[in-house]
């Protein structure tokens, strides 16, 4: 199992997306998935081995690392990528359901099963809301877990079995911070894209609805 799986899933999503949706897929691929796989993974690879405390007491480093990094940044990043991509599958499933229905009844029930209208529109809107919600949840989680988006180079730890307050040094803090900011920036960009797509769709279809009603009244 690798990220190719996610990539293939999202390529399918691309077919049934609006223009802004396609930009979102491109941003997720290029700026999040690719950066994660090509750069970020390697930075956090040996974070535990390179975490060093100024003490010889066995076990002290372990407990301190565990205290300061309950869930590693990189694992949260991976979870975020997966969670944020998953709501798009709702749209794919709905289109598959429509096509299946057409097959079962052996007649053309929809003008175009992939066109965003009717029930598929609501599914699409729900997927957008879920995506945005999950992005915000993960950003808040990052902020709360690590007290902001900064990574200090030194942390003070006094958890047993450390006999006193011990200086512990985090490896590559500057590089990690750069990529953390990158993650936050791309998350925010994706939130903006999702919200603009949401408002665009709502606006477009309410205008359509209004015009239809207007035509009916005149007729």
């Amino acid at each position: 199992m690798s990220w190719v799986f996610l990539r293939d899933l999202l390529s399918g999503v691309n077919k049934y997306s609006t223009g802004i949706g396609r930009i979102w897929v491109a941003v997720v691929f290029m700026f999040r998935l690719l950066v994660y796989v090509a750069a970020a993974e390697n930075i956090w690879k040996h974070e535990h081995d390179e975490f060093e405390c100024n003490i010889k007491q066995p076990g002290c480093e372990n407990v301190c690392f565990d205290h300061f990094f309950p869930v590693s940044h990189i694992r949260l990043w991976a979870l975020q990528l997966i969670m944020v991509s998953t709501p798009s599958l709702l749209v794919v499933f709905h289109v598959a359901y429509r096509e299946n229905r057409e097959k079962q009844h052996n007649q053309k029930l929809y003008r175009n099963p992939g066109k965003i209208d009717g029930g598929l529109l609501y599914t699409y809107l729900i997927s957008l809301i879920l995506k945005t919600g999950l992005e915000i949840v993960f950003l808040v989680l990052f902020y709360k877990l690590y007290n902001g988006f900064k990574i200090p180079h030194l942390v003070k730890c006094d958890i047993k079995p450390c006999p006193n307050t011990v200086d512990c040094y985090i490896s590559k803090p500057t590089e990690k911070m750069i990529f953390l900011y990158f993650l936050v920036a791309t998350s925010c960009l994706c939130i903006v894209l999702n919200l603009s797509e949401l408002s665009y769709l709502i606006f477009k279809y309410s205008i359509k609805c209004y015009l239809k009603r207007h035509m009916k009244k005149h007729q």
Partner: protein, 370 residues
């Protein structure tokens, strides 16, 4: 290397919609940057921190000294550089795909309209709408008769802007790398940062090997920058040439009516879509085959010159494209590998231009030509 397949797939599509120089740039990006980074450079920097040794036993000193010496690792810097430098091309590709999609929608609507009008019997209204729609499509960059994407108007602007932004990114990253690390990596780094008790000697792992890669990647970045500038110059020169030829040819005898009809009549004859490069390699027509498409290049270029001449007349009146380029989108056109049907005066023009133009643009036949 597998991770770069994400970007590689996107850029394959950009490859189709690029000019000659653009294709060379993309090849340089693929081979000399992505491939080298993914295979060789990554392993060279693999043990960068574990083998970064400081002459001290003070715990934590190595960590902080490494962090001070390398705020961002070279490899990660190059990854970001590749991503940011590729992004403008993807924006252009998005625009090109959008144009294709709009054209497909337009064709569908036209077909529907045709069916409707045929039912009602209102021919003239349909014809008017059709010609209007065609003109619209031409403005957007789609040639109905040839079935190609023509690089003009907003699409060409997007292309030029993408190259400009790409150039700016290259310069920014080259300057950034110089500011961060200079050109060469020193073996010894003297570090003075708490908790190191005094200035400590720290030794970088594999400095010579890293220097080789640093110099290589810097050279490739400069080469890419040069290629981007060459592409800009190429586009700008063509535009200036076209404007000059237009100002010379603006004559009162050219009636507007003739201008309007000329393109319609001449377009099917003046050039046929260039065949796909792979198919042309096996063509029996020896004149147009070469292992490295140089002859294809001159053939394509002269075809484009002929195109520009004809378009130059047509555009003297109207808003006119900045620079024209053609690209085969339809598979039927792409399968034609025989000698394209050139207009009668093509060969005389070809000879004239082949002598005049020394520019050896090593174009492939499916290049976007300007």
């Amino acid at each position: 290397m597998g991770e770069w397949s994400f970007l590689g797939d996107f850029l394959e599509k950009v490859h189709k919609h690029s000019t000659v120089v653009g294709k060379v740039w993309l090849t340089v990006l693929f081979i000399f940057r992505m491939l080298v980074l993914g295979t060789a450079a990554e392993s060279s920097w693999g043990d960068e921190q574990s083998d970064f040794m400081c002459d001290t036993q003070q715990p934590g000193c190595e960590n902080v000294c490494y962090d001070k010496a390398f705020p961002i690792s070279h490899v990660r810097f190059w990854v970001l550089q590749i991503i940011f430098v590729s992004t403008p091309s993807l924006v252009y590709m998005g625009h090109a795909m959008h144009t294709v999609r709009m054209e497909e929608k337009r064709k569908m609507k036209e077909a529907e309209l045709e069916a409707q009008e045929k039912k009602n019997g209102g021919d003239t209204y349909y014809q008017q709408k059709c010609s209007l729609a065609e003109k619209e499509a031409k403005l957007c960059g789609w040639d109905e008769a040839g079935g190609q994407i023509i690089l003009r108007g907003s699409l060409l602007n997007t292309y030029v802007y993408s190259i400009l932004i790409r150039t700016a990114m290259e310069v920014a990253f080259i300057v950034g790398q110089y500011v961060l690390y200079g050109i060469f990596l020193e073996t010894l780094y003297i570090c003075q940062r708490a908790p190191c008790p005094h200035p400590v000697n720290c030794y970088v792992s594999r400095p010579t090997e890293k220097n080789v890669f640093i110099v290589f990647m810097l050279a490739v970045a400069v080469l890419s920058l040069f290629l981007s500038l060459a592409e800009l110059y190429h586009l700008g020169w063509k535009k200036a040439k076209e404007r000059c030829s237009r100002s010379y040819k603006a004559s009162p005898s050219t009636a507007p009516g003739r201008l309007e009809s000329a393109p319609q009549a001449e377009r099917p004859q003046m050039y046929t879509p260039p065949p796909d490069f792979n198919q042309c390699l096996s063509s029996p027509n020896g004149k147009f085959i070469s292992p490295f498409s140089n002859k294809m290049a001159s053939q394509q270029n002269t075809a484009n010159f002929a195109t520009e001449r004809v378009h130059g007349q047509e555009d003297a009146a109207g808003e006119g494209p900045f620079i024209k380029s053609s690209y085969v989108e339809s598979p039927e056109a792409a399968s034609e590998c025989a000698a394209p049907a050139f207009p009668e005066n093509y060969f005389s023009e070809k000879r004239r231009f082949s002598k005049a133009s020394r520019a050896s643009s090593k174009a492939r036949s499916d290049d976007l030509s300007v």
